[in-house]
Point group: C2
Chain length 414, copies 2
């Protein structure tokens, strides 16, 4: 069974927003064995929407649509769906009650354009929106299923979780897609490929291997397709063989991020972590704290953007900054020591650098970053020279720090 | 002139990565007046890629393709393009030299699969990759232009900036698309729409207004289409009229984020800012520091995830946490005072809450967040009750804090 995703909205096509909904929906559908054939982003334009619907229906059994359901004039998804199915609009009592309830709760008057949110194509089954006013809509027509949902992520997510997934499971006898991901750090894609070439050559046609490189890490994703229950065991066996082969650079045998793997490893060691972030400006902390349960390992730390805060929060000596500069081996070492001492954690990460685009010199160009990780007993300090783009420097510095800490933790354990 | 974007890669269709490339490319093309008709994500599958190329060429003049150019077996974009154009593969000397140089620089041996990166379809013009080994490729065929680029964001970005945009400008007599965005915070989409309905009704057909709501903010985007040079003045006049009408909730008259508007406002006031983040775990700091020049306003702060760090870094009294809890009006107030005192800034933001999914109680459910913003002279403290999803709670807490600070700064100034 195949599905397609259509996201509707000029804001995607002019790049004002990044479409994060599609990746999320794709993951949920993959989990229940539904393969996404294509994701298409189209404009708030009647003809374009009609054509995209017809094209998707020619390739897929289920078409998931997001966006264009707001109360304002540029939102035309609903009326266009009615035209596509050749039906009129009717008022849905349940939706009107939901909209009324939401407005009453916040003591706002119900405007006519809000009431119009209760109008839906006559052939749809409404999916109630527990987080907003725009209803979701489930259509069945000529053997195909169409689901229209709001573009607001958490409204859509609720509908997928609570209504769409359960209904699809009931409706279809779903095949099995089994994914297994190995996360590696510290070796390039082509070297990895060479090391496991003989294993890859032995993969049967229904098992695919993909290399997903990102920021010094490579994810190896094995995907087994088929209704056969052995697929899972088969994929796991190949994954185990690859994991053994690349053990020295293996971070995790599940599809998690590098920092989550570190949190897991440190939790198992009952170790704690703090940070001293200058040029990464809170990004390392954010990556850690986005994971539920991170507080069991991560105590917090300092975003010491100014030199004053490096001294105030971490006890870096002003003479160190004066003599060697804020971006130096000496300063990053004092930052690490300050974090370990002041935040009372077993391990710490310290980062100072020039994220850019300004602030570089001939000696220390934009992209120069010093990173220190370690404990009282064992410390590693490294200098990196990244590129000229600020956000990339922040991302790469964070990834490099986690990679260094991961290697250190592996060594500590062995 | 119309363009389409095709992103190739199973990793997008199973949701393992979010396609951020398309939004970025769309913005760059919009800036030079090229309208994106559709964005399509397709799998690493020969037939599917061939079909997507043909469909895109039937609708657009320029087709930008990313992904599937890695050295490994799952990457088939290059060979599929050769098949699409009915040409063979040839070795490109310049690319081979680039690949060789990159491997020499890092002292790695050049493998056969790396050398194979220099093979390109015979009809292409190579775009050298200054950040990696996979070449970009520019094709012209039957009046259409096709550009194939790597999926690694900064490799693609370099090619767009340095080669694709200049070549497109030379090739086409581009029309004018003029966008103007107004950022508002603190009023819902439908209320805004009602307040400016009469202005919206007067917009000519070639000027469109879109409402882009997100996290308590609404962006109003006016887009004027046409080769006419008056379009810019026309759009600006409508924007000025709307800005005057919604002045009380207006944050910025340009397409920037809420936190960037705050940084601009504070820089103009010569004021400084620090943070004390508990449940947002560094996200507020990250949002601020992703902007170049943020150090002129933002000094840094504490990510005080543990109670110990709240005391250690901010001087919150242990009795306050014991008596009222870490998530309370009393604690957030002491966090704000501690940040102002210890970090020596004019203004500060303090946030403490229960991001979830665990840690909630009947009295303080997951999603309970206390936020305090202010200066020595003027403080505002508010309690919010968000939802059950961790990342959303982090995002909404950060947005709410910035919205509170923006309102406070507007009042201070008036």
């Amino acid at each position: 069974m195949r599905a397609e995703i259509i996201t509707i909205g000029d804001e995607i096509l002019i790049g004002q927003i990044v479409d994060t909904n599609s990746a999320w929906m794709a993951r949920q559908l993959n989990n229940i064995g539904v393969k996404i054939k294509q994701i298409s982003s189209v404009s708030d334009d009647r003809e374009h929407i009609l054509k995209a619907l017809a094209e998707a229906a020619s390739r897929a059994d289920v078409i998931l649509i997001t966006g264009g359901l707001g109360p304002t004039k540029d939102d035309i998804t609903k009326i266009t769906l009615a035209e596509y199915f050749g039906v009129g609009m009717v008022e849905n009592a349940e939706t009107l009650a939901n909209v009324t309830r939401i407005f009453e709760k916040s003591n706002r008057p119900l405007l006519d354009i809000n009431k119009a949110q209760a109008l839906v194509p006559a052939n749809c089954e409404v999916i109630i929106n527990n987080n907003g006013t725009a209803p979701g809509m489930w259509f069945e027509s000529e053997g195909k299923i169409y689901v229209s949902m709001p573009g607001v992520p958490f409204e859509m997510m609720y509908m997928i979780d609570e209504a769409v997934i359960p209904k699809l499971k009931k409706r279809f006898d779903l095949p099995v897609i089994y994914h297994k991901t190995l996360l590696t750090a510290g070796e390039g894609e082509s070297f990895l490929a060479k090391r496991i070439a003989d294993i890859e050559d032995r993969l049967p046609a229904h098992v695919k291997l993909a290399y997903l490189p990102k920021l010094g890490q490579v994810r190896l994703r094995l995907s087994g397709y088929g209704a056969n229950e052995n697929v899972e065991a088969e994929v796991e066996a190949f994954a185990a063989e690859i994991a053994e082969r690349v053990d020295n650079i293996l971070v995790a045998t599940e599809d998690i991020t590098l920092e989550k793997a570190i949190l897991n490893r440190m939790e198992a060691m009952a170790a704690t972590l703090s940070v001293a972030e200058s040029c990464t400006g809170g990004y390392v902390s954010h990556l850690l704290t986005q994971h539920a349960g991170s507080s069991r390992v991560f105590a917090g730390g300092g975003v010491v953007y100014s030199n004053e805060l490096k001294q105030q929060v971490l006890g870096v000596e002003s003479s160190t900054i004066d003599n060697f500069g804020a971006v130096s081996e000496e300063t990053v070492t004092e930052m690490l020591n300050g974090a370990l001492k002041n935040f009372h954690t077993d391990f710490a990460i310290a980062i100072t650098g020039i994220a850019g685009p300004d602030g570089g010199t001939a000696e220390k160009p934009v992209g120069t970053v010093w990173i220190a990780v370690g404990s009282e007993k064992s410390k590693v300090v490294k200098k990196f020279t990244f590129g000229s783009k600020r956000l990339q420097n922040i991302e790469r510095s964070s990834a490099a720090a986690f990679s260094m800490l991961n290697t250190l933790l592996k060594e500590v354990k062995n």
